[in-house]
Amino acid sequence: MIVVLLAGLATLAGGAVVAAAPGALATGLRLQAAGALALGVAGFWALGDGGTWGASFTSALTPHFGVDGLTGLFLGTLGLIAFPSLVFASAYVRQDGPGRVTGVLTGAFVLALVGVLCTRDALSFLLFWELMTLVPAAIILVGRNTESARHTVFTYVAITHLGGAGTWIALLLLAHEGAIGDPSALADGSAIQAVVALAAIVGFGTKAGLMPMHAWLPRAHPIAPAPVSALMSGVMVAVAAYGLVRVLVDWLGDPPPWVGATVLFLGGLSALGGITYALFQRDLKRLLAYSTVEHLGIVALGLGACLLMRTHGADQWAAFALAAALLHTVNHAVFKALLFLGAGTFERATGSLELDRLGGLLRRLPWTGGAFLVGTLAIAGMPLLNGFASEWLTLQSLLHVPAYAGVWDGTLGAVALAALAGTMALAVLCFVKVIGLVLLGPARRTACAEAVEPAVAMRFAIVALAGACVALGAAPGVLFSRLTGLAPWSGAGGESPVHAGLALPGTGNLPTLGLLAVIGGLAVLLWLARGERRAAVSPTWACGQLVEPPLQWTSAGFTKPLRLVLEAVLRPEREIEVTRRGGVVQEVSYTGRVPHLIDVYLYRPVTSGALLAAAWARRLQSGRLGTYVAYLVGLVLVLLTAVRIGLIG
């Protein structure tokens, strides 16, 4: 296993170097992809045989590296996503100066992600953690050095570093207490345990895009090149979830109930909030970025259920909930990477990702469009595909919270259950809209009517990921049975026996293969029974009207009923201007948008307050020598007075 891992790392690094050479970009990226594939194999291998390699976690501050089951799972996911993404990149990234720099940096990005997963001490973890944040910022700036991109990158780096302070505090405190890798080092219910838990939730939660710390994510993920967006939205947020699991589940001992309740609350807020705002986006990549917030919220729901049930002694279900969260992390990585790569292809093929100006792409791009359709069905939580399997597990975990966790936490679990059910229905609404506006209907621009399939490498990457969606949906039990064994507590029952489907005590089971066979079999039978008798082709019925382009439905139109229903919460803005001349209406202009309330009511006051404070502080810096001398004299006087009255010295 370790040989494969090291070979993968060497190939990856070699690929990054080769990509810098003129004319060797595609070769370099393909080398990187091969390395990523080896990493994935090594990761799943480590997860499968349950063995560990290298150092175990230590509170010492010297560099230590190692691999265990949980690291193996995330390494495997990294490989599963990075391999197709890098193959895609080898045809997608342009062969010019900035393209070569991007090629080198993608290798560095993957290496940084591996670094975060494989370090076993606080300092190297934080080093790779910072690299993981900064490398994508560099990639974005190399590819798109405009005013707005610079502003976005500033927001990204600022918010992730302000929030990232939580990561530093949590890890350094844990190292100081000797608690890294040792859950018994922190006294249960102590203040230091509470501080570590809060700092970790803020620090890793910011990186995972949990609301309300998510503001950077929908801005930064869409403007990166498609393969990097896939890595950021698929793997980087998963690595943040890895951090949360490590600190909250592995190292914190037995945390008080409020930790689980907080994670559950943030998860529910992110899931509902993320998908609601995704609905009202008009840009495909931004919509996908908001849906990342939603899915990390679902992961947090599973994690919160795990912590709550662990607190209340339901160890077996806590292990199931943890496995549900981990499985959803993997599933989300797969379909989100697929959708981002698909979006990148559509952008290349048609020049724009504005939802209202696409359409009809399933006919023009059957391979990419078909795979994209599979991805949207998976992300909308349709049975038979991977998204439903882990969402079903999360629903079951939340449903079992009331059964074990007492009145207060049980009520919270039931509310979270309702939130997740609503989220899943909203996801159907959101992705039906995406399917309709992007893949179906008439082409809304000439560029869409003339779009062609991309290079084979790009097509291969997208179809491979769609295959992964189907495979993980048909046999989620294979991975799940391994994941329940990752729970660190005894009495979790260890690994469950391997089924293709999901079989949990106290449920009606989800035999995925059986469902696949029955739905598929019935569909084939009915298709045959229906036969091919068809009347002549007829135009769409619109009450006798001709269906013209102005009659096309838009994204805003499709979501209008929901916008009206949620008006009190969302506070949409709309303006209608009617221009009349001589009593006759000449033109009507309509503008409407759904403002992002957390930006308006949380971030804007904070940033404007910070700017005011900065403006005030700047007055101290007058630039005149006399003023600075006066400051010095004042300081000396204050110190002397303090000594005199005995405050210091």
């Binding site: 009809g360 399933l362 006919r363 909308a380 939580g381 349709m382 049975p383 038979l384 079903w392 079951q396 449903l399 009331p402 059964a403 007492g406 009145v407 009520t411 039931a414 509310v415 259950l417 309702a418 059910a421 609503g422 899943m424 229905a425 159907v428 609404l429 039906v432 399917i435 309709g436 506006l437 179906l440 106290g506 449920t507 009606g508 089971n509 989800l510 035999p511 059986g514 469902l515 066979a517 029955v518 019935l522 569909a523 009915l526 036969g531 008798r533 002549a536 007829s538 135009p539 769409t540 019925w541 619109a542 009659l551 439905w553 139109g557 499709f558 209008k560 009923p561 929901l562 229903v565």
Partner: protein, 308 residues
């Protein structure tokens, strides 16, 4: 496999596939009588299905495989749902499990497929129905999952066979938890079957309907499959209402014997509400169903307080 399992399985499949249109026919007939009309008789849906099966389907300009496959997939999803919902507390395995939450997923699949087909035809009226249906489904899904959660907590499993057994007899009705879940489920029944005050099954006017909207373009055998799927939806929610959310007997034989009677009563109740209640303004429906979800939540809290 015991005799009662075999009989229960036969009732489940034959009832779901063949008797489901009768539920619609009965409801319409009772409604006609209540409104002082003679009505076409309870067998009318079967005549419609036969008529549609003999006609050729309509192909719409510019549509893809999504439009063609939708009726087939919807019927397949509903067929699977029939296998998921047992008619009594014992049922054969069928290879798909009997999970309550899987049922919610399969129903969501049917909904998504129909709405995607609406986009494929890019018919404005179809999309109007689709967007309304999906908007309501956000609240219906929450109410459905929460009311099923009440029943699951009361009976200690999400296996529908176990739920039917666990809610049988008068034991579960000594506390208000299940009754609160039942109130929420009433609203789910009305929304899923597309009946007043949520939707009006009698109207075929483009602007007033919800469930009829997305399937506006279909004809012939496609339409027959979709109409059967709607009947199967009636069967599913009414059987769940009868065997989980209404007092029902213990033991498979009694449950099977009383099922037709309860279904008949439920059809009568649906007809009565349709006669007495007018259709609600579409934007007020989410509020109503949201209240239902809140009542189910209250049911869970009641259960928690009782068991604590």
């Amino acid at each position: 496999m015991t005799t009662q399992t075999v009989v229960a399985g036969a009732v489940q499949v034959v009832g779901g596939v063949a008797a489901a249109p009768l539920l619609i026919g009965l409801t319409q007939q009772v409604k006609a009588r209540l409104q002082g009309r003679r009505g076409p008789g309870p067998l009318q849906p079967y005549r419609e299905l036969r008529r549609l099966w003999g006609k050729s389907s309509v192909e719409v300009e510019g549509t893809t495989i999504v439009y063609r496959i939708a009726p087939v997939l919807v019927a397949a999803a509903l067929g699977t749902a029939i296998l998921l919902v047992p008619a009594a507390q014992s049922a054969p395995g069928w290879g798909v499990g009997h999970d309550a939450l899987a049922l919610a997923g399969v129903l969501a699949l049917a909904r998504l497929v129909v709405c995607a087909a609406a986009w494929d035809t890019s018919n404005g009226f179809a999309l109007q129905g689709a967007s309304r249906d999906l908007t309501l489904s956000v609240f219906v899904e929450a109410a459905l999952v929460l009311s099923l959660a009440v029943a699951a907590l009361v009976s200690g499993t999400t296996d529908l066979r176990g739920i039917v057994a666990g809610t049988a007899g008068d034991g579960p009705w000594t506390t208000p938890a299940l009754a609160l879940g039942a109130i929420a489920f009433v609203l789910v029944v009305i929304a899923e079957t597309g009946r007043q005050p949520v939707d009006n099954p009698d109207t075929h006017l483009e602007l007033t309907m919800i469930h009829e909207g997305p399937i506006l373009e279909y004809g012939g055998r496609d339409q027959a499959l979709l109409q059967w799927a709607m009947a199967a939806r009636h069967w599913l929610v009414l059987v769940l209402a009868a065997q989980v959310f209404l007092p029902h007997a213990q033991g498979t034989w009694w449950q099977l014997a009383l099922l037709p009677l309860t279904l008949l009563l439920l059809c009568g109740a649906l007809a009565l509400t349709e006669t007495l209640v007018a259709k609600m303004r579409i934007l007020l429906v989410p509020r109503l169903i949201g209240v239902g979800a809140a009542v189910a939540l209250l049911g869970i809290v009641t259960w928690l307080v009782e068991t604590a």
